[in-house]
Symmetry: C2
Subunit: 397 residues, 2 copies
């Protein structure tokens, strides 16, 4: 979090004072906490009806302040994607952390160091090699490293399959050091499930695989406490999580155009955007040029294979109102190209006009920034959103 | 440059001591200074035969230490893509800086501040609105802001065309505040020029447009000192730059798979790579999983439209030797998927094996990291490259 703030610098680490979105030099990331709070409440309400706990994945926001929007003053269970996040959230008072990327044995000393600070840091694995490394490191440190076994439900990434006897073999190895904590499933296929019915089916399947894996281990005489499932689409679509103990989701706090394209949210729910400035016009090409390129938006083109390709993002005015038909159609490092989807005439947006671009993929766009300029419904006398705070992000590995 | 280093932390800000590429937790970026130095010398030699000066674009490396590989102990002319870079390089002793993104008038106070420190910071523009803003800010500060007029040669981004009388109009406005410094052309089309003949033609065309633009302005009675051209492909392909005063190129220090795909360099010239660790296997899919996803590589798929699609990158061993047929074919945030190009059997690379991935686009991949672990030809007793230093990057805007 020791990263440089944008210009002008916030007046304190957490308060920007009387600045509005017209003040900081562009490009910069904006987080609308009204929208984020709405998104957070929506999933919290839904998950509470399912009788399981929510372990938000903070790989999207990577921010203690955003985590506090979810958990309030009482740090709860979280998921992270790097040990740098685990360490930063541990420093921030979080004591129940799942590091949800298959463990590289070389990283175990940092895991042990966190455990010895009293943090319950769980790791993820899907091979006997990793299980032996965890078992041996646990024994050497006299500290059981809690481990979840990753189980694959749809062939999108890692995990052992239910048909693979390795599942129980891993469970047995972990049990030798009291490290077996449970099983984890992630429905990667759900990011391609474009109807509510498909998302519902993906959620049921994710649950079924997780519960069946836990059962296999239990039938082998092994203890399984945690049965963890989740993705942003399946977390919202699930209606019955019997046998599951916790749900993970990360993107849901910000949402993005990929998620609205799947129908998981509305475009109006998107809490993250990037403020850019018009720096030129090429009317003969139908282009408006901005100072927000892929360095500010990321190279993510996650909607390219969806029904509606949103380019690099949809354009709104500074207040968040969509500019009809306008999208970011091209990007170089520090240049964005805006054009109309239907080739209709460009709106009149002179040099110096500020706009906001809604991203395809919030995780990727947020990662291009050191932090967020935070706004809510407050407006200044010109109707421009007032900046309430600057919240830094955890970066690196 | 106040960004956190990776684990384990370098022992000093500039020296990592006796660590090798097996030591830092993955993923991390590696810079091979032997290769960078070779690439730097190659272009320096070529440009010196053309009788023009080289103004390297530091948007790729964003590092004072890399700039010193080019300029040695005597800071020379440089190009930057953000004011944050301009400020950092000014702090590092550079006094002749071109900020080569169309100027947003809101950023002029930071430009003035640099000028008032004695830095010759030139800005870029292509509209009468920007020219008036520069003229008026120059007058208000009693400090002429040097400005280059961007001229378009191939329709890839900004710039006025030679046919547009706006060119001279802009020149006249800038002259009112003694701000007209010259013209700038960038051959964006050259990144799609796949033969030496096409690159040569692009270089000639870039030169012709720049020289013609300067001539138009001079014929209007305006003074033009700087005639700036450049892109990595055209800088290498140019054979006659009569009328040009300087060449810009940035990517050439590191090179990448896009550039080797264009034939501008060999794969063996690539100076930037990312070290990743094998964390799993899915033989039924033909996959090896690593801990290097798009967060470490970027989402850039710049070779997707080239003759040979390199996925997210080519894989080498830790020593830089290519692993035949292996490429990074998929990416999620912190997971990479490696597979063989021809579907041939996967090499035996157990969990924990470290590999290097050569990127599509060095600018984008470098931007995902706080800095570089620097290696050269030095090897430890196991034959592994020894880390010579850790060099931070300038980030933000």
């Amino acid at each position: 979090m020791t990263t440089p703030p944008p210009h002008p610098a916030p007046t304190t680490s957490d308060t920007v004072g009387a600045l509005s979105l017209v003040d900081p030099d562009t490009p910069f990331a904006v987080l609308d906490t009204d929208k984020a709070t709405h998104n957070i409440a929506r999933l919290a309400d839904h998950v509470s009806t399912l009788g399981v706990s929510l372990r938000p994945h903070l790989k999207t926001a990577k921010s203690l302040a955003v985590a506090a929007l979810i958990h309030g003053d009482t740090p709860g269970p979280i998921t992270v994607s790097t040990l740098a996040e685990a360490e930063a959230f541990a420093d921030g008072g979080y004591t129940d952390i799942l590091y949800a990327v298959g463990i590289d044995p070389h990283k175990l000393p940092r895991v042990i160091a966190l455990l010895q600070r009293g943090i319950t840091l769980s790791v993820l694995l899907d091979s006997t090699e990793q299980a032996r490394a965890v078992r041996d490191a646990s024994a050497a440190a006299r500290t059981p490293i809690p481990a979840l076994i990753e189980v694959d439900c749809d062939g999108h990434r890692g995990g052992v399959t239910l048909q693979d006897p390795t599942l129980v073999e891993i469970g047995r190895i972990l049990t030798e050091s009291d490290s077996l904590a449970g099983v984890l499933v992630h429905a990667g296929e759900s990011y391609f499930a474009t109807t509510r019915a498909e998302q519902h089916k993906a959620a049921d399947h994710e649950r079924d695989v997780a519960v069946a894996a836990a059962q296999q281990l239990r039938e082998a005489g092994l203890r399984v406490d945690t049965v963890s499932v989740g993705s942003t689409p399946t977390a919202h679509a699930a209606t019955d999580l019997t046998g599951v103990t916790e749900v993970r989701a990360g993107n849901y706090v910000f949402f993005d155009l990929v998620m609205s394209g799947l129908g998981v949210c509305e475009v109006d729910d998107l809490a993250l955007s990037v403020v850019v400035t018009v720096i030129g016009h090429r009317p003969e090409h139908g282009w408006i040029l901005t100072d927000g390129g892929w360095m500010a938006m990321s190279r993510d083109r996650g909607t390219a294979n969806q029904r509606v390709d949103q380019g690099y993002g949809l354009v709104t005015d500074l207040n968040g109102n969509p500019v009809p038909q306008l999208l970011m159609s091209g990007a170089s490092q520090e240049h964005g190209i805006l054009s109309t989807r239907d080739g209709s005439p460009l709106p009149d947006l002179p040099v110096g006009t500020r706009l906001r671009v809604l991203p395809n993929h919030a995780c990727a766009t947020a990662a291009q920034h050191h932090g967020y300029h935070v706004v809510d419904s407050s407006r200044d006398t010109t109707g421009t959103p007032v900046i309430q705070a600057y919240w830094g992000r955890v970066t690196g590995w």
